[in-house]
């Protein structure tokens, strides 16, 4: 008998959300610590079973064959860990930030943290799900709270932006749903493992397979915001309350990538092999577009948002290789992007709190005033750039290694060219990253910033925790990487 461990990790935040809401009336902004405790519990539950492959299945609608299952294996571990850690530390970070955003309307803290918990639980559930319908439910569960969080506590035209965000993602999700239903009628099952086995062992017409894979891919790529499906992202990420941006971008959009790998790629490997080149090209264009747009931004949050689009291009690039190296690299890149971008969005929040500014051109010379912030920013960008000893180096190395290997294996010259162009595009990351650090933290201090002080300890602690983690994973990736590559090899049958 399996002990209910993972279900605790996912359901505890959901069940306790109303209690957090009620407690918010009494505790005001201190209720953030309660949310933090709940998420610590979830993280602990995940760490408890992180040692080996772990599976829990509960019967839900036996008539339709729908189960509720939670599975932690080498593939879902990096995702679950990233989501759990980020949502835990950002819960702490939210305390000073939301105090700054909400101010003295104590009634609202409860609703913020209740929605925050639901959002975190939705993401966790999605990456642990073992059943397609269950996956879809969690996939949508992360949408609704995040929509409300943006619409309620965002900036600018927050309601319109939240609305756009919801519609884009929901349309993608419906395409995914259509594909899930089609898969169900082809295979008669909704369990991911069972469907995978059946699809592997039956020859279905390629046209049908391509149709299902395309619908599914659209569903996931909207979430990943690759070029053409990215319209919602710069707005949503820039105008969301900053802790939520720090979850949206590093944790949530990558779940699209998880879906592509866990579901689409494992169901339809033939499709991915056949369309490897167009997907790689698409990914390259996303990298290029995101990087170029990031270079031209003045609003720091928009810059980070475009950088996320570009980084999702890397994820897709790795997937397009359809081999073990590239796909594992993508997954690891999700983790390193999550850490790096988590740091950077939180820093953007600190800048907003301390200077009330988002415009980079009005900042400058802040390194002397906020040394720790400056250092962390540098670490964040270096992770994205892929400096050796940060986790970004290993993941990018694996992604490009994977793509080049697959192009050599298939003898495709075009793909090799795309891979080399992709490598060159990484310079864009270095460009906008280091340039931003220079513009914000060095040079002369403008007059209106002379009174600025370093961010509060509570806000800086989560950032430093993440910065340390990037180095830990960068220097000693083995515990995660070994199991990851093994699972990718075994469960996806990739060499």
């Amino acid at each position: 008998m399996s002990l209910p461990i993972l279900i605790q990790a996912v359901l505890t935040p959901i069940v306790l959300a109303p209690i957090v809401y009620l407690a918010g009336r009494r505790l005001s902004h201190h209720v953030g610590w309660l949310a933090f405790a709940i998420l610590i519990h979830s993280t602990a539950m995940i760490l408890m079973v992180a040692g080996s492959e772990y599976l829990e299945v509960y019967s839900w609608v036996p008539r339709m064959g729908w189960d509720i299952g939670f599975k932690l294996d080498g593939l879902s571990l990096p995702f679950a860990l990233n989501i759990a850690v980020l949502s835990t530390v950002i819960a702490v970070y939210s305390i000073p930030y939301m105090e700054h955003r909400i101010g003295d309307r104590p009634g609202e803290y409860g609703s913020y943290y209740a929605l925050y918990l639901l959002y975190a639980a939705g993401m966790l559930g999605a990456v642990l799900a073992t059943d397609l319908v269950e996956f879809y439910i969690f996939y949508e569960l992360m949408l609704i709270p995040s929509y409300l969080l943006i619409a309620r506590w965002g900036y600018g035209e927050r309601e319109r932006i939240a609305f756009m965000y919801f519609l884009w993602t929901h349309i993608g999700a419906l395409a995914l749903l259509a594909s899930i239903v089609a898969v169900y009628w082809v295979t008669g099952a909704t369990s991911i493992e069972v469907v995978k086995t059946i699809l592997r062992n039956t020859r279905i017409p390629f046209q049908l397979e391509a149709g299902m894979a395309t619908a599914m891919l659209v569903g996931f790529l909207v979430k990943m915001a690759v070029l053409g499906l990215h319209v919602w992202l710069p707005h949503a990420h820039a105008e969301a309350p900053t802790p939520i941006s720090a979850l949206l971008s590093p944790a949530m959009i990558g779940i699209g990538g998880y879906g592509v790998i866990r579901i689409a790629l494992s169901f339809f490997p033939r499709f991915f092999t056949a369309y490897s080149l167009p997907i790689a090209l698409w990914a390259f264009l996303t990298m290029l577009y995101g990087g170029l747009m990031a270079l031209s931004q003045d609003d720091i949050k928009r810059l980070l948002a475009y950088s996320s689009i570009s980084q999702m291009g890397y994820l897709l690039f790795g997937i397009s290789s359809v081999n073990m190296l590239g796909v594992s690299g993508s997954i690891l890149h999700y983790l390193s992007h999550g850490l790096g971008k988590g740091i950077l969005f939180m820093i953007a929040g600190i800048l907003i709190m301390q200077t009330e500014l988002r415009s980079i051109s009005r900042m400058g010379g802040l390194a002397s005033k906020m040394p720790l912030t400056a250092l962390s920013t540098l670490i964040g960008f270096l992770t994205l750039i892929g400096l050796p000893t940060t986790s970004g180096f290993i993941s990018e190395w694996m992604i490009f290694g994977g793509v080049i290997r697959s192009s050599l294996a298939s003898g495709s010259m075009d793909k090799l060219i795309v891979a080399i162009l992709g490598l060159l595009a990484t310079m864009l990351t270095a460009g906008y990253g280091l340039w931003t650090v220079r513009r914000v933290f060095f040079g002369s201090i403008p007059k209106h910033l002379e009174e600025v002080r370093e961010g509060s300890v509570i806000a800086l602690t989560p950032i430093i925790a993440l910065a340390i983690l990037t180095f830990v994973i960068g220097v000693y990736p083995a515990p995660i990487l070994d199991r990851l590559t093994q699972t990718v090899m075994l469960s996806l049958n990739l060499g």
Binding site: V133, Y147, F163, L174, A178, A182
Partner: protein, 492 residues
């Protein structure tokens, strides 16, 4: 028997009301009405057990045309939302209608309408069907126009009356032709007659069916016969709106389902007409709903769209699709009943149905706002709530029959509908309240109670759909099994 309980209620409510008025007791009549509907659950549960045991229960009614009531799984499935929404709206009415006059007739008509609906779904022949159909229709005309001192309800009620009775007349002529062909009004008898090729290929039958589709379609508000609904549903008092939109239009769907199966040989014809009308209905309902400024009108158009989904599922005609349609009937009854009640609570508190006036009211009336959000998210098909389950099953049934285009069109409609549900949610719940809402207070307890019943069912079915899926699948199976329907009514 459920009907006798309600009929007893109909007869006694005016007396109780009159007596309590004389004695100066408040709310006796209101609670008595709710009690009667609640008591109807007891025979209902006995009925379920009986139906589960014997399949089809037949009650003869001594009258001219050998009238019978036949209750099978499908009828039982339809009675459930009627009773639940009926009970919830009766409780809700207690405070919603408390400032009105003529409440004796209000509660009498309310239970007469519920009685009529239950009669319609348990009729075993066309005569009984039509009889209860008219009981239901007439009481609903009166209820729509209940606030007769204002022009809007009177106009809407009159429009509804004209259209609906035209529909009834058309349906009656259709029934007459069927009687002429089959020589019987009994459903099972007609189904048996349709097995004779000579009768089934009679060209008059096409006319008869068209007339019946129009008659039923008017009640079910299938486009282009839907025009009465957006006037009548908003104009009626809110508990009545939720009964009208939640369950009454579903009696039209019930009729379509029943007769669809009776005239088996004409399935291709039915399917084509129904699926064309279904998509017309969906698109008209959804696209028009986007431009509404009146919250109840928006909900009314959304009901039209939802009827489109149900009709589409019916038109597919497989066990999966019929059970999906049935489940959606139940789910929509809960969601739409809930939404109309929440809209009514806002109207009760602010005196306005204009969405721009209601902006931000959800922040003043937190509980009603949360309940409204549950309803809106459910009807928008968010997973974890009931609407998702049945919408998924409808699309699933379409894809199973390889109707990819239709499935895609349905999904497009889901997207359109999400747009306006979400915008409504945003405007009611998230916008800053206007200053003139500062004196708005939370809805009274009985109104909340009525809504909570439905909201908890929305959540329950969403989280634990297993039981309801099984029941609807059973009902779908029974509905399509015309052979054993005939045998169990007519014998061998």
């Amino acid at each position: 028997m459920v009907i006798w309980t309600l009929a007893f209620g109909c007869c006694t409510i005016p007396i109780v009301g009159w007596v309590s008025d004389r004695l100066g007791l408040r709310y006796v009549r209101e609670w008595y009405s709710s009690l009667v509907i609640a008591l109807a659950f007891i025979p209902y549960i006995l009925l379920i057990r009986l139906v589960a045991r014997v399949g089809v229960v037949v009650y003869p009614i001594p009258s001219l045309f050998h009238s019978i009531l036949t209750v099978d799984m499908v009828s039982v499935f339809f009675i459930l939302p009627i009773l639940i929404v009926g009970f919830a709206s009766s409780i809700y009415s207690t405070s919603y209608m408390s400032h009105d006059t003529g409440l004796n007739s209000y509660y009498t008509l309310l239970s007469a309408m519920i009685l009529g609906m239950i009669g319609v779904v348990s009729a075993g022949d066309f005569f009984t069907f039509f009889l209860f159909w008219e009981v239901m229709s007439i009481s609903s005309y009166a209820l729509v126009a209940f606030r007769k001192d204002r022009w809007e309800p009177v106009e809407a009620g009159f429009k509804y009356l004209v259209m609906s009775s035209a529909g009834s007349a058309l349906m009656l002529s259709g029934i007459a032709i069927v009687y002429g062909i089959a020589g019987t009004l009994n459903f099972a008898g007609i189904a048996l007659a349709m097995r004779t090729p000579v009768l089934a290929s009679d060209p008059w039958l096409i006319l008869a069916i068209s007339l019946i589709i129009v008659g039923l379609g008017i009640k079910a508000a299938i486009a282009p016969m839907h025009t009465w609904l957006p006037d009548a549903h908003p104009a009626a008092p809110s508990p009545i709106s939720s009964l009208l939109s939640g369950v009454m239009i579903k009696t039209g769907v019930y009729g379509l389902l029943r007769f669809y199966i009776l005239f088996q040989t004409l399935h291709a014809y039915w399917s084509l007409i129904l699926s064309i009308l279904a998509f017309l209905t969906m698109f008209i309902g959804n696209l028009t709903a986007m431009f509404q400024t009146d919250i109840k009108r928006l909900l009314a158009y959304s009901s039209i769209a939802q009827i489109g989904y149900i009709t589409f599922a019916l038109s597919i005609g497989t066990i999966q699709s019929i059970s999906a349609a049935l489940l959606h009937v139940f789910n929509h009854a809960m969601m739409k009943g809930l939404l109309f009640m929440a809209a009514g609570a806002f109207y009760h508190a602010t005196g306005s149905r204009d969405i721009s006036v209601l902006e931000g009211v959800g922040r003043r009336m937190k509980l009603t706002g949360v309940i409204l959000s549950i309803g809106l998210l459910a009807i928008a098909g968010m997973p974890g709530l009931n609407g998702f389950v049945s919408e998924l099953l409808i699309v699933s049934a379409a894809i199973q029959q390889e109707l990819y285009l239709q499935a895609a069109l349905t999904i497009i409609n889901f997207v359109i509908s999400v747009a306006y549900y979400l915008r409504l949610l945003q405007r009611i719940m998230l916008k800053e309240p206007r200053s003139d809402l500062s004196r708005v207070e939370e809805a009274p307890a009985t109104m909340i109670a009525g809504m909570v019943i439905l909201a908890s069912l929305c959540v329950f079915v969403g989280v634990y759909p297993s039981m309801f899926i099984s029941i609807s699948e059973l009902a779908g199976r029974v509905a399509l099994d015309i052979g054993s329907y005939i045998t169990s009514i007519l014998g061998g």
